[in-house]
Symmetry: C2
Subunit: 273 residues, 2 copies
Protein backbone atom coordinates (compact mmCIF):
# COMPACT_ATOMS: atom_id res chain seq x y z
CA UNK A 1 0.00 0.00 0.00
CA UNK A 2 1.43 3.36 -0.96
CA UNK A 3 -0.53 6.30 0.40
CA UNK A 4 2.38 8.64 0.63
CA UNK A 5 4.44 10.73 -1.76
CA UNK A 6 7.79 11.56 -0.24
CA UNK A 7 8.93 15.17 -0.24
CA UNK A 8 12.59 15.85 -1.00
CA UNK A 9 13.17 16.73 2.64
CA UNK A 10 11.70 13.40 3.71
CA UNK A 11 13.78 11.60 1.14
CA UNK A 12 16.90 13.21 2.63
CA UNK A 13 15.80 12.23 6.13
CA UNK A 14 15.11 8.69 4.98
CA UNK A 15 18.61 8.56 3.46
CA UNK A 16 20.14 9.68 6.76
CA UNK A 17 18.09 7.11 8.66
CA UNK A 18 18.77 4.22 6.29
CA UNK A 19 22.51 4.92 6.25
CA UNK A 20 22.96 4.89 10.01
CA UNK A 21 20.81 1.76 10.42
CA UNK A 22 22.60 -0.19 7.68
CA UNK A 23 24.41 -3.14 9.19
CA UNK A 24 27.14 -4.30 9.42
CA UNK A 25 28.93 -1.12 8.45
CA UNK A 26 32.65 -1.39 9.22
CA UNK A 27 33.84 1.12 11.80
CA UNK A 28 30.77 3.34 11.86
CA UNK A 29 27.81 3.65 14.19
CA UNK A 30 25.14 1.22 13.07
CA UNK A 31 22.14 -0.44 14.63
CA UNK A 32 24.35 -2.83 16.58
CA UNK A 33 27.20 -0.51 17.44
CA UNK A 34 27.53 2.85 19.20
CA UNK A 35 30.59 4.96 19.87
CA UNK A 36 31.06 5.74 23.51
CA UNK A 37 29.65 9.25 23.24
CA UNK A 38 27.84 9.12 19.92
CA UNK A 39 25.05 6.60 19.58
CA UNK A 40 22.61 5.42 16.97
CA UNK A 41 20.07 7.63 18.72
CA UNK A 42 22.21 10.75 18.23
CA UNK A 43 22.25 10.18 14.48
CA UNK A 44 18.51 9.55 14.45
CA UNK A 45 17.76 12.60 16.59
CA UNK A 46 19.82 14.67 14.17
CA UNK A 47 17.76 13.17 11.31
CA UNK A 48 14.61 14.42 13.05
CA UNK A 49 15.97 17.88 13.93
CA UNK A 50 17.26 18.50 10.40
CA UNK A 51 13.74 18.65 8.96
CA UNK A 52 13.14 22.43 9.02
CA UNK A 53 16.48 23.14 7.32
CA UNK A 54 15.83 20.45 4.71
CA UNK A 55 12.38 21.94 4.07
CA UNK A 56 14.00 25.35 3.69
CA UNK A 57 16.30 23.83 1.09
CA UNK A 58 13.36 22.18 -0.67
CA UNK A 59 11.55 25.51 -0.96
CA UNK A 60 14.63 26.73 -2.84
CA UNK A 61 14.49 30.10 -1.14
CA UNK A 62 17.32 31.63 0.80
CA UNK A 63 21.00 30.89 0.53
CA UNK A 64 22.70 27.52 0.75
CA UNK A 65 25.39 28.60 3.24
CA UNK A 66 22.73 29.93 5.58
CA UNK A 67 20.64 26.75 5.25
CA UNK A 68 23.67 24.58 6.07
CA UNK A 69 24.16 26.77 9.13
CA UNK A 70 20.53 26.21 10.14
CA UNK A 71 20.90 22.45 9.75
CA UNK A 72 24.02 22.44 11.89
CA UNK A 73 22.50 24.75 14.52
CA UNK A 74 19.44 22.48 14.79
CA UNK A 75 21.54 19.37 15.30
CA UNK A 76 24.45 20.45 17.50
CA UNK A 77 22.54 19.44 20.60
CA UNK A 78 25.02 16.98 22.06
CA UNK A 79 28.65 16.71 23.05
CA UNK A 80 29.41 13.93 20.60
CA UNK A 81 30.07 16.48 17.89
CA UNK A 82 27.91 17.11 14.88
CA UNK A 83 26.77 13.80 13.49
CA UNK A 84 25.82 14.95 10.00
CA UNK A 85 27.95 17.98 9.09
CA UNK A 86 29.41 16.34 5.99
CA UNK A 87 26.04 14.91 5.02
CA UNK A 88 24.44 18.36 5.19
CA UNK A 89 27.14 19.81 2.93
CA UNK A 90 26.00 17.33 0.29
CA UNK A 91 22.28 17.06 1.05
CA UNK A 92 21.41 20.75 1.30
CA UNK A 93 22.40 21.59 -2.31
CA UNK A 94 20.93 18.29 -3.54
CA UNK A 95 17.58 18.98 -1.87
CA UNK A 96 17.76 22.64 -2.95
CA UNK A 97 18.38 21.74 -6.56
CA UNK A 98 16.47 18.45 -6.49
CA UNK A 99 19.18 16.32 -8.06
CA UNK A 100 22.87 16.47 -8.97
CA UNK A 101 22.33 18.78 -11.96
CA UNK A 102 20.23 21.10 -9.82
CA UNK A 103 22.79 21.01 -7.02
CA UNK A 104 25.57 22.00 -9.42
CA UNK A 105 23.54 24.99 -10.59
CA UNK A 106 22.81 25.97 -7.00
CA UNK A 107 26.40 25.79 -5.77
CA UNK A 108 27.53 27.80 -8.78
CA UNK A 109 25.46 30.66 -7.40
CA UNK A 110 27.02 30.73 -3.93
CA UNK A 111 28.79 33.92 -2.92
CA UNK A 112 30.85 35.27 -0.03
CA UNK A 113 27.77 35.43 2.23
CA UNK A 114 27.39 31.65 1.84
CA UNK A 115 31.05 31.19 2.68
CA UNK A 116 30.73 33.31 5.82
CA UNK A 117 27.58 31.46 6.97
CA UNK A 118 29.29 28.14 6.32
CA UNK A 119 32.29 29.12 8.42
CA UNK A 120 29.99 30.11 11.24
CA UNK A 121 28.30 26.70 10.94
CA UNK A 122 31.67 24.97 10.94
CA UNK A 123 32.59 26.84 14.10
CA UNK A 124 29.58 25.32 15.87
CA UNK A 125 30.78 21.78 15.22
CA UNK A 126 33.65 19.90 16.75
CA UNK A 127 34.84 18.85 13.31
CA UNK A 128 38.57 19.26 12.85
CA UNK A 129 40.10 20.99 9.86
CA UNK A 130 43.28 20.03 8.11
CA UNK A 131 46.14 21.04 10.38
CA UNK A 132 47.95 23.44 8.13
CA UNK A 133 44.83 25.32 7.11
CA UNK A 134 45.17 29.04 6.92
CA UNK A 135 41.39 29.40 6.95
CA UNK A 136 40.94 27.90 10.40
CA UNK A 137 37.31 28.18 11.49
CA UNK A 138 38.38 28.78 15.05
CA UNK A 139 40.43 31.78 14.02
CA UNK A 140 38.25 34.90 13.77
CA UNK A 141 40.59 36.28 11.10
CA UNK A 142 39.30 33.60 8.70
CA UNK A 143 36.04 35.46 8.17
CA UNK A 144 37.99 38.57 7.25
CA UNK A 145 40.12 36.63 4.77
CA UNK A 146 36.95 35.23 3.16
CA UNK A 147 35.53 38.73 2.83
CA UNK A 148 38.77 40.32 1.61
CA UNK A 149 39.18 37.68 -1.08
CA UNK A 150 35.43 37.62 -1.84
CA UNK A 151 35.54 33.85 -1.69
CA UNK A 152 32.30 32.04 -2.57
CA UNK A 153 31.31 28.87 -0.78
CA UNK A 154 32.39 26.99 -3.91
CA UNK A 155 35.82 28.67 -3.57
CA UNK A 156 35.96 27.45 0.03
CA UNK A 157 35.20 23.93 -1.13
CA UNK A 158 37.92 24.27 -3.77
CA UNK A 159 40.31 25.30 -1.03
CA UNK A 160 39.31 22.24 1.06
CA UNK A 161 39.02 19.72 -1.76
CA UNK A 162 42.57 18.33 -1.63
CA UNK A 163 42.04 17.16 1.93
CA UNK A 164 38.29 16.60 2.05
CA UNK A 165 36.37 14.27 -0.24
CA UNK A 166 33.03 15.86 0.71
CA UNK A 167 34.26 19.27 -0.44
CA UNK A 168 35.62 17.54 -3.54
CA UNK A 169 32.10 16.41 -4.42
CA UNK A 170 31.08 20.06 -4.72
CA UNK A 171 34.04 20.93 -6.90
CA UNK A 172 33.93 17.93 -9.21
CA UNK A 173 30.16 17.58 -9.70
CA UNK A 174 29.30 14.86 -7.19
CA UNK A 175 31.02 11.91 -8.94
CA UNK A 176 31.18 9.64 -5.88
CA UNK A 177 27.59 10.46 -4.96
CA UNK A 178 26.64 9.49 -8.51
CA UNK A 179 28.70 6.30 -8.34
CA UNK A 180 27.21 5.37 -4.96
CA UNK A 181 23.69 5.90 -6.28
CA UNK A 182 24.43 3.83 -9.39
CA UNK A 183 25.79 1.05 -7.19
CA UNK A 184 22.70 1.08 -4.97
CA UNK A 185 20.30 1.10 -7.90
CA UNK A 186 22.21 -1.65 -9.71
CA UNK A 187 22.32 -3.83 -6.59
CA UNK A 188 18.54 -3.82 -6.66
CA UNK A 189 15.85 -3.27 -4.07
CA UNK A 190 16.46 -3.95 -0.39
CA UNK A 191 18.44 -2.30 2.36
CA UNK A 192 21.46 -4.63 1.93
CA UNK A 193 22.42 -2.60 -1.15
CA UNK A 194 23.53 0.17 1.21
CA UNK A 195 26.11 -1.98 2.98
CA UNK A 196 27.42 -3.31 -0.32
CA UNK A 197 27.69 0.14 -1.90
CA UNK A 198 29.41 1.47 1.23
CA UNK A 199 31.93 -1.36 1.13
CA UNK A 200 32.55 -0.86 -2.58
CA UNK A 201 33.39 2.84 -2.16
CA UNK A 202 35.49 1.96 0.87
CA UNK A 203 37.49 -0.49 -1.27
CA UNK A 204 38.38 2.13 -3.87
CA UNK A 205 38.42 5.56 -2.20
CA UNK A 206 40.71 6.91 0.51
CA UNK A 207 38.40 8.24 3.23
CA UNK A 208 39.67 11.74 4.01
CA UNK A 209 38.14 11.64 7.49
CA UNK A 210 40.34 8.63 8.29
CA UNK A 211 43.34 10.48 6.83
CA UNK A 212 42.63 13.49 9.07
CA UNK A 213 42.23 11.33 12.16
CA UNK A 214 44.80 8.57 11.60
CA UNK A 215 46.97 9.50 8.62
CA UNK A 216 47.30 8.30 5.06
CA UNK A 217 48.65 4.84 5.84
CA UNK A 218 45.63 3.97 7.98
CA UNK A 219 43.32 5.09 5.16
CA UNK A 220 45.26 3.00 2.63
CA UNK A 221 45.06 0.00 4.93
CA UNK A 222 41.30 0.45 5.20
CA UNK A 223 40.95 0.39 1.39
CA UNK A 224 42.90 -2.87 1.24
CA UNK A 225 40.85 -4.45 4.03
CA UNK A 226 37.57 -3.46 2.38
CA UNK A 227 38.85 -5.03 -0.85
CA UNK A 228 39.57 -8.29 1.01
CA UNK A 229 36.03 -8.31 2.38
CA UNK A 230 34.58 -7.70 -1.09
CA UNK A 231 36.75 -10.52 -2.46
CA UNK A 232 35.38 -12.86 0.19
CA UNK A 233 38.76 -13.30 1.87
CA UNK A 234 37.79 -11.69 5.18
CA UNK A 235 34.36 -11.72 6.85
CA UNK A 236 32.83 -8.27 7.15
CA UNK A 237 32.40 -8.78 10.91
CA UNK A 238 36.17 -9.23 11.33
CA UNK A 239 36.86 -6.04 9.38
CA UNK A 240 34.21 -4.22 11.44
CA UNK A 241 35.83 -5.38 14.71
CA UNK A 242 39.28 -4.29 13.47
CA UNK A 243 38.00 -0.83 12.54
CA UNK A 244 36.31 -0.42 15.92
CA UNK A 245 39.40 -1.59 17.80
CA UNK A 246 41.58 0.91 15.98
CA UNK A 247 39.07 3.76 16.08
CA UNK A 248 38.85 3.76 12.27
CA UNK A 249 35.68 5.59 11.26
CA UNK A 250 35.07 6.05 7.53
CA UNK A 251 32.90 9.06 8.18
CA UNK A 252 33.29 10.89 4.88
CA UNK A 253 32.34 7.86 2.78
CA UNK A 254 29.30 7.48 5.07
CA UNK A 255 28.35 11.10 4.25
CA UNK A 256 28.66 10.37 0.54
CA UNK A 257 26.56 7.20 0.90
CA UNK A 258 23.80 9.30 2.50
CA UNK A 259 23.82 11.56 -0.55
CA UNK A 260 23.89 8.47 -2.79
CA UNK A 261 20.83 6.98 -1.04
CA UNK A 262 19.01 10.30 -1.50
CA UNK A 263 19.68 10.15 -5.26
CA UNK A 264 18.86 6.43 -5.52
CA UNK A 265 15.52 6.91 -3.73
CA UNK A 266 14.72 9.72 -6.14
CA UNK A 267 15.41 7.39 -9.04
CA UNK A 268 12.97 4.80 -7.76
CA UNK A 269 15.16 2.52 -5.67
CA UNK A 270 13.14 0.76 -2.96
CA UNK A 271 14.67 0.02 0.43
CA UNK A 272 11.90 -2.09 1.99
CA UNK A 273 11.82 -4.92 -0.42
CA UNK B 1 26.04 22.40 23.87
CA UNK B 2 22.33 23.05 23.51
CA UNK B 3 21.47 25.21 20.53
CA UNK B 4 18.06 23.74 19.99
CA UNK B 5 14.65 24.05 21.62
CA UNK B 6 12.54 21.03 20.77
CA UNK B 7 9.07 21.62 19.42
CA UNK B 8 6.29 19.37 20.70
CA UNK B 9 6.20 17.60 17.34
CA UNK B 10 9.93 16.91 17.57
CA UNK B 11 9.53 15.70 21.12
CA UNK B 12 6.89 13.22 19.92
CA UNK B 13 9.16 12.08 17.09
CA UNK B 14 12.05 11.70 19.52
CA UNK B 15 9.81 9.58 21.77
CA UNK B 16 8.90 7.32 18.83
CA UNK B 17 12.56 7.00 17.85
CA UNK B 18 13.86 6.36 21.38
CA UNK B 19 11.20 3.73 22.05
CA UNK B 20 11.94 1.65 18.98
CA UNK B 21 15.71 1.86 19.49
CA UNK B 22 15.55 0.89 23.19
CA UNK B 23 17.25 -2.44 23.71
CA UNK B 24 16.69 -5.18 24.74
CA UNK B 25 12.92 -4.83 24.58
CA UNK B 26 11.25 -8.23 25.00
CA UNK B 27 9.24 -9.29 21.96
CA UNK B 28 9.24 -5.98 20.11
CA UNK B 29 11.25 -4.61 17.23
CA UNK B 30 14.37 -2.99 18.61
CA UNK B 31 17.76 -2.03 17.28
CA UNK B 32 18.92 -5.65 17.26
CA UNK B 33 15.70 -7.33 16.18
CA UNK B 34 13.31 -7.00 13.24
CA UNK B 35 10.11 -8.85 12.48
CA UNK B 36 10.17 -10.58 9.14
CA UNK B 37 8.11 -7.90 7.41
CA UNK B 38 8.38 -5.00 9.85
CA UNK B 39 11.85 -3.68 10.57
CA UNK B 40 13.48 -1.06 12.71
CA UNK B 41 13.61 1.06 9.57
CA UNK B 42 9.83 0.89 9.10
CA UNK B 43 9.29 2.33 12.56
CA UNK B 44 11.88 5.03 11.93
CA UNK B 45 10.44 5.91 8.52
CA UNK B 46 7.04 6.25 10.17
CA UNK B 47 8.65 8.56 12.75
CA UNK B 48 9.88 10.77 9.90
CA UNK B 49 6.61 10.71 7.92
CA UNK B 50 4.49 11.58 10.97
CA UNK B 51 5.99 15.06 11.22
CA UNK B 52 3.35 17.07 9.30
CA UNK B 53 0.47 15.51 11.28
CA UNK B 54 2.31 16.10 14.56
CA UNK B 55 2.90 19.73 13.55
CA UNK B 56 -0.79 20.05 12.73
CA UNK B 57 -1.55 18.78 16.23
CA UNK B 58 0.96 21.22 17.71
CA UNK B 59 -0.73 24.15 16.00
CA UNK B 60 -3.91 23.11 17.84
CA UNK B 61 -6.04 23.83 14.81
CA UNK B 62 -8.32 21.33 13.18
CA UNK B 63 -9.89 18.26 14.70
CA UNK B 64 -8.13 15.42 16.48
CA UNK B 65 -9.84 12.62 14.55
CA UNK B 66 -8.81 14.19 11.27
CA UNK B 67 -5.22 14.67 12.46
CA UNK B 68 -4.98 11.02 13.52
CA UNK B 69 -6.22 10.13 10.04
CA UNK B 70 -3.49 12.30 8.50
CA UNK B 71 -0.82 10.62 10.65
CA UNK B 72 -2.03 7.18 9.63
CA UNK B 73 -2.32 8.13 5.95
CA UNK B 74 1.24 9.48 5.98
CA UNK B 75 2.65 6.29 7.50
CA UNK B 76 0.73 3.44 5.88
CA UNK B 77 3.37 3.09 3.21
CA UNK B 78 4.29 -0.54 3.72
CA UNK B 79 2.72 -3.96 3.95
CA UNK B 80 3.89 -4.58 7.49
CA UNK B 81 0.82 -2.79 8.81
CA UNK B 82 0.75 0.55 10.55
CA UNK B 83 3.65 0.72 12.94
CA UNK B 84 2.39 3.55 15.13
CA UNK B 85 -1.42 3.55 15.07
CA UNK B 86 -1.73 3.13 18.83
CA UNK B 87 1.04 5.64 19.45
CA UNK B 88 -0.74 8.26 17.32
CA UNK B 89 -3.98 7.76 19.27
CA UNK B 90 -2.05 8.84 22.36
CA UNK B 91 0.44 11.31 20.89
CA UNK B 92 -1.93 13.41 18.77
CA UNK B 93 -4.06 14.61 21.71
CA UNK B 94 -0.95 14.98 23.90
CA UNK B 95 0.80 17.13 21.30
CA UNK B 96 -2.45 18.99 20.60
CA UNK B 97 -3.01 19.79 24.26
CA UNK B 98 0.67 19.91 25.20
CA UNK B 99 0.46 17.62 28.20
CA UNK B 100 -1.98 15.18 29.86
CA UNK B 101 -4.25 17.91 31.21
CA UNK B 102 -4.37 19.55 27.79
CA UNK B 103 -5.01 16.22 26.10
CA UNK B 104 -7.95 15.54 28.40
CA UNK B 105 -9.48 18.90 27.52
CA UNK B 106 -8.93 18.24 23.83
CA UNK B 107 -10.49 14.78 23.77
CA UNK B 108 -13.47 16.09 25.72
CA UNK B 109 -14.20 18.28 22.71
CA UNK B 110 -14.25 15.49 20.12
CA UNK B 111 -17.51 14.96 18.25
CA UNK B 112 -18.97 12.57 15.71
CA UNK B 113 -16.82 14.02 12.91
CA UNK B 114 -13.72 12.93 14.86
CA UNK B 115 -15.21 9.48 15.30
CA UNK B 116 -15.90 9.17 11.57
CA UNK B 117 -12.38 10.36 10.63
CA UNK B 118 -10.88 7.95 13.14
CA UNK B 119 -12.80 5.01 11.67
CA UNK B 120 -11.58 5.95 8.22
CA UNK B 121 -8.03 6.01 9.61
CA UNK B 122 -8.54 2.64 11.25
CA UNK B 123 -9.74 1.24 7.94
CA UNK B 124 -6.40 2.18 6.35
CA UNK B 125 -4.44 0.06 8.83
CA UNK B 126 -4.19 -3.69 9.12
CA UNK B 127 -4.90 -3.48 12.84
CA UNK B 128 -7.45 -6.01 13.99
CA UNK B 129 -10.42 -5.14 16.17
CA UNK B 130 -11.88 -7.24 18.92
CA UNK B 131 -13.71 -10.10 17.23
CA UNK B 132 -17.18 -9.52 18.56
CA UNK B 133 -17.15 -5.82 17.77
CA UNK B 134 -20.36 -4.45 16.32
CA UNK B 135 -18.48 -1.34 15.16
CA UNK B 136 -16.17 -3.20 12.79
CA UNK B 137 -14.07 -0.73 10.80
CA UNK B 138 -14.25 -2.95 7.76
CA UNK B 139 -18.03 -2.85 7.81
CA UNK B 140 -19.36 0.28 6.03
CA UNK B 141 -22.43 0.21 8.30
CA UNK B 142 -20.19 1.21 11.22
CA UNK B 143 -19.97 4.81 9.98
CA UNK B 144 -23.76 4.97 9.83
CA UNK B 145 -24.05 3.62 13.37
CA UNK B 146 -21.57 6.28 14.57
CA UNK B 147 -23.62 8.99 12.90
CA UNK B 148 -27.00 7.64 14.04
CA UNK B 149 -25.84 7.47 17.64
CA UNK B 150 -23.88 10.75 17.35
CA UNK B 151 -20.91 9.04 18.96
CA UNK B 152 -17.91 11.26 19.71
CA UNK B 153 -14.39 9.90 19.39
CA UNK B 154 -14.31 9.70 23.17
CA UNK B 155 -17.47 7.54 23.00
CA UNK B 156 -15.69 5.28 20.53
CA UNK B 157 -12.78 4.95 22.93
CA UNK B 158 -15.23 4.16 25.73
CA UNK B 159 -16.68 1.47 23.51
CA UNK B 160 -13.19 0.02 22.88
CA UNK B 161 -11.75 0.50 26.37
CA UNK B 162 -12.60 -2.93 27.80
CA UNK B 163 -10.47 -4.62 25.15
CA UNK B 164 -7.91 -1.96 24.35
CA UNK B 165 -5.57 -0.37 26.87
CA UNK B 166 -4.73 2.50 24.48
CA UNK B 167 -8.41 3.47 24.23
CA UNK B 168 -8.58 3.08 28.01
CA UNK B 169 -5.93 5.80 28.37
CA UNK B 170 -8.33 8.26 26.70
CA UNK B 171 -11.21 7.26 28.92
CA UNK B 172 -9.36 7.16 32.22
CA UNK B 173 -7.13 10.21 31.85
CA UNK B 174 -3.83 8.63 30.71
CA UNK B 175 -2.94 6.85 33.98
CA UNK B 176 -0.45 4.39 32.46
CA UNK B 177 1.13 7.15 30.37
CA UNK B 178 1.55 9.11 33.61
CA UNK B 179 2.95 6.11 35.44
CA UNK B 180 5.37 5.33 32.62
CA UNK B 181 6.59 8.94 32.59
CA UNK B 182 7.00 8.94 36.38
CA UNK B 183 9.01 5.70 36.12
CA UNK B 184 11.27 7.13 33.42
CA UNK B 185 11.85 10.39 35.28
CA UNK B 186 12.49 8.57 38.58
CA UNK B 187 14.94 6.16 36.94
CA UNK B 188 17.03 9.18 36.03
CA UNK B 189 18.76 10.33 32.87
CA UNK B 190 19.90 7.88 30.20
CA UNK B 191 18.17 5.73 27.62
CA UNK B 192 18.24 2.60 29.83
CA UNK B 193 15.30 4.09 31.78
CA UNK B 194 13.10 3.28 28.79
CA UNK B 195 13.79 -0.46 28.91
CA UNK B 196 13.27 -0.52 32.67
CA UNK B 197 9.99 1.40 32.51
CA UNK B 198 8.77 -0.83 29.68
CA UNK B 199 9.58 -3.94 31.70
CA UNK B 200 7.90 -2.51 34.79
CA UNK B 201 4.61 -1.86 32.97
CA UNK B 202 4.90 -5.26 31.32
CA UNK B 203 5.17 -6.87 34.77
CA UNK B 204 1.95 -5.31 36.03
CA UNK B 205 -0.35 -4.68 33.04
CA UNK B 206 -2.01 -7.16 30.69
CA UNK B 207 -1.07 -6.03 27.18
CA UNK B 208 -4.35 -5.96 25.25
CA UNK B 209 -2.54 -6.39 21.93
CA UNK B 210 -1.19 -9.72 23.20
CA UNK B 211 -4.71 -10.66 24.38
CA UNK B 212 -6.11 -9.89 20.91
CA UNK B 213 -3.40 -11.88 19.15
CA UNK B 214 -2.80 -14.76 21.56
CA UNK B 215 -5.49 -14.72 24.23
CA UNK B 216 -5.65 -13.86 27.89
CA UNK B 217 -3.47 -16.71 29.15
CA UNK B 218 -0.55 -15.66 26.95
CA UNK B 219 -0.87 -12.10 28.24
CA UNK B 220 -0.94 -13.31 31.84
CA UNK B 221 2.11 -15.48 31.23
CA UNK B 222 3.93 -12.43 29.80
CA UNK B 223 3.22 -10.45 32.98
CA UNK B 224 4.67 -13.24 35.12
CA UNK B 225 7.77 -13.57 32.93
CA UNK B 226 8.39 -9.82 33.03
CA UNK B 227 8.09 -9.98 36.82
CA UNK B 228 10.74 -12.74 36.92
CA UNK B 229 13.08 -10.59 34.85
CA UNK B 230 12.54 -7.60 37.16
CA UNK B 231 13.20 -9.84 40.17
CA UNK B 232 16.48 -10.94 38.64
CA UNK B 233 15.37 -14.57 38.27
CA UNK B 234 15.48 -14.66 34.46
CA UNK B 235 17.86 -12.72 32.17
CA UNK B 236 16.04 -10.24 29.94
CA UNK B 237 17.66 -11.84 26.87
CA UNK B 238 16.01 -15.19 27.69
CA UNK B 239 12.61 -13.52 28.07
CA UNK B 240 13.17 -11.64 24.80
CA UNK B 241 14.02 -14.87 22.96
CA UNK B 242 10.90 -16.58 24.41
CA UNK B 243 8.66 -13.73 23.27
CA UNK B 244 10.14 -13.78 19.78
CA UNK B 245 9.82 -17.56 19.52
CA UNK B 246 6.15 -17.40 20.48
CA UNK B 247 5.34 -14.29 18.45
CA UNK B 248 4.50 -12.39 21.64
CA UNK B 249 4.57 -8.66 20.85
CA UNK B 250 3.59 -6.28 23.66
CA UNK B 251 2.62 -3.62 21.18
CA UNK B 252 0.12 -1.65 23.26
CA UNK B 253 2.50 -1.20 26.18
CA UNK B 254 5.08 -0.02 23.63
CA UNK B 255 2.57 2.60 22.44
CA UNK B 256 2.02 3.75 26.01
CA UNK B 257 5.78 3.94 26.61
CA UNK B 258 6.08 6.24 23.59
CA UNK B 259 3.50 8.57 25.17
CA UNK B 260 5.33 8.26 28.49
CA UNK B 261 8.66 9.25 26.90
CA UNK B 262 6.95 12.27 25.31
CA UNK B 263 5.73 13.39 28.75
CA UNK B 264 9.06 12.62 30.46
CA UNK B 265 11.01 14.63 27.86
CA UNK B 266 8.62 17.53 28.42
CA UNK B 267 9.33 17.34 32.14
CA UNK B 268 13.07 17.61 31.59
CA UNK B 269 14.16 13.98 31.43
CA UNK B 270 17.39 13.61 29.40
CA UNK B 271 17.97 10.55 27.25
CA UNK B 272 21.58 11.15 26.17
CA UNK B 273 23.23 11.13 29.51
Amino acid sequence: MTCHMMTRAERAQLAMMLEVCAYPKPGNVDRCHDYERTWLEHFLASTIYARPALEEAERGEGRIGEIIKHAVAATCYHDGGNTHFGAFILLIPLVYGGDIAGAKTAIGKTDVSDAVAFYKAFGMTHVRMHESDELDVHDPRSLQILRDREMTLLDVMNHSAPNDMVAREWVTGFPLTRRGADLIVSLGPGRQAIVKAFLTLLATELDTFIIKEHGLVAAQRTVLSAREVLDGKVPIEVFDAECIENGINPGSIADIIIAAIYIALGEGWKWDF
